[in-house]
Symmetry: C2
Subunit: 238 residues, 2 copies
C-alpha cells in the first residue's frame, strides 16, 4: 500500500537523521557526551520518539557503528576488484582500512566500544544481528582473496589456512588501532606507521608469494591509492 510505504520511508529517513546527529555528537563529545535529551533536541523530536527507533542509548551507538561499518564493506568490495596479484589485492584491504581511519577517526573507537559487553548486551537483537552480518561480510571478503591465492598457487605448501591468514591480518589491524590510543607508548613511535610493513612481514611469514623482498609493495600501495580509492584520497589530501 502506497501510504504505508510513504510512512515507512519517512520513518527510515528520520532514523538516518537521528543516526547522523548521534554520529556528530559522538565525534565531538564521545560516548560519555552522548545524551539522549540533547539528541532529541537536535533532531527536533521528543526523547520518547527516539525510543520508537532504538531500544536503548547503546542501540543508538551500535546503529552509528553499523553505519560506519557499511563504508568498510564498500571499501573492501572495491579492494576485492583491484586488478593485480593476489597479494596486491589483499594489500588493498589494508589501504582501505587505513583510509577509513583517516576519514572517520572516531569510527574505530566505536567498533571497539560496541563489542564490549556493557554496550553489546544492551543493544537490540536485530541490530546486533545486522552488525554481525556486516562484520562477517568483511571477513569473508578477505577469505575470498586468500582462497583465490591458494587456487592460483600464490600460497606455499606450508602456508596456513586462508582463515588463519585473515585472523592474523585483522589482529594486526585491530591491535594497531588499539595501541595508538595508549599514549604512554608514544615515545616508542607510531604503531600505525609500521602497520603496512607488519602486514607485509606477516604475509611473507605465511608464505604468500611474491614476498616483500621480491616485489615493491610500497609502489603497489601507491597504485591502490589512485586506482581503487582515488576520489577519497584526492579529497583527503586536497
Amino acid at each position: 500500500m502506497a501510504i504505508a510505504d510513504r510512512k515507512r520511508r519517512a520513518f527510515e529517513a528520520r532514523e538516518q537523521l537521528i543516526i547522523a546527529e548521534a554520529d556528530d555528537l559522538l565525534a565531538t563529545n564521545g560516548y560519555l557526551g552522548l545524551n539522549l535529551d540533547e539528541l532529541a533536541d537536535r533532531v527536533e523530536y521528543s526523547k520518547a520518539t527516539l525510543y520508537h527507533h532504538f531500544s536503548s542509548k547503546e542501540d543508538v551507538v551500535l546503529a552509528v557503528a553499523t553505519h560506519h561499518a557499511q563504508h568498510r564493506v564498500d571499501y573492501f568490495m572495491r579492494a576485492c576488484l583491484h586488478d593485480g596479484l593476489t597479494r596486491e589485492r589483499m594489500l588493498a584491504f589494508g589501504v582501505g582500512d587505513r583510509l577509513l581511519s583517516l576519514q572517520f577517526p572516531h569510527g574505530f573507537p566505536l567498533y571497539q566500544l560496541v563489542r564490549s559487553p556493557s554496550i553489546w548486551t544492551k543493544c537490540s537483537d536485530p541490530r546486533r544481528a545486522q552488525y554481525g552480518k556486516i562484520s562477517s561480510h568483511c571477513f569473508e571478503l578477505g577469505i575470498k582473496v586468500a582462497r583465490d591465492a591458494a587456487d592460483r598457487g600464490d600460497l606455499s605448501e606450508w602456508s596456513p589456512d586462508p582463515e588463519q591468514i585473515i585472523w592474523g591480518l585483522v589482529s594486526l589491524s585491530k591491535g594497531a588501532h588499539l595501541l595508538v590510543e595508549e599514549t604512554e607508548f608514544e615515545e616508542h613511535g607510531d604503531p600505525m606507521a609500521h602497520l603496512f610493513d607488519n602486514y607485509d612481514r606477516y604475509l611473507d611469514g605465511v608464505g604468500w608469494n611474491p614476498t616483500s623482498r621480491d616485489f615493491d609493495f610500497e609502489a603497489a600501495r601507491e597504485r591502490v591509492k589512485t586506482e581503487v580509492f582515488g576520489p577519497e584520497f584526492a579529497e583527503l589530501l586536497g
Copy 2:
C-alpha cells in the same frame, strides 16, 4: 612515625580488600553489574569511604585492571629469564600471555575497557600513571629481548626495529583477544588456536632466526610451560 605507618598499612590493606571484592563482582557480573552500593556492602564500609580510596567507579575498575597487569609484569619478567634462544625467550612471552588469559579470563576485557575514553577520562591521574607505567614496563621487557636478539645476530640485516617487532606481536595478541569476543566468527574457528602459529609466522617474516621451519617451537613452548610456568600450568590442569 610508627602510628602513621600503621595507619597507612591498614588503609592499604582495606584498598586491597576493596579491589579483591570489586574483581569478584566484575568477574561475575561484568562492568554493568558493578554497583558501588553493593561493593560497599560487601566490604562492610560505607560508600563514602570507598570514595576516600577511589575517585570514581571507573577508578575502581582501573585499580582492578592494574592488579591484573601486575601479574603480567611478573610473568614477563620470568619469561625474560628463560634459558634458550632469543626466539624461545620471546615465545615465552606468548605462553605467559596465554596463561594469563586462561587463569583470569575476565582480565582481558578489562584491559580493553579501561582504555576506552569513557572509562579512562574518569580515572584519577595517579592511577592512570601507574597503569601506564606497568604497560610500558611490559612493553620494554619485550623490547629488551628483541634488542638482545639484534645484539646476538639472531635478527637479519633486513629485520625491522625491535620496537616494530614488539608492536606486531602485541597487536597479534590484542587482536586475537578482541576477536574471540566476536561470536559470529565462531564458524571460522578459534583465533586463539592460531595465535601461537601467527606469532611464529610473523617472527619468520621479520627475519628472527631460527625460523619455525628450522626449529620446533611447539616443543619449545612445552618446555616453557614446565620450566617457566610449571606451578601455574600444573594448577590449571589440575
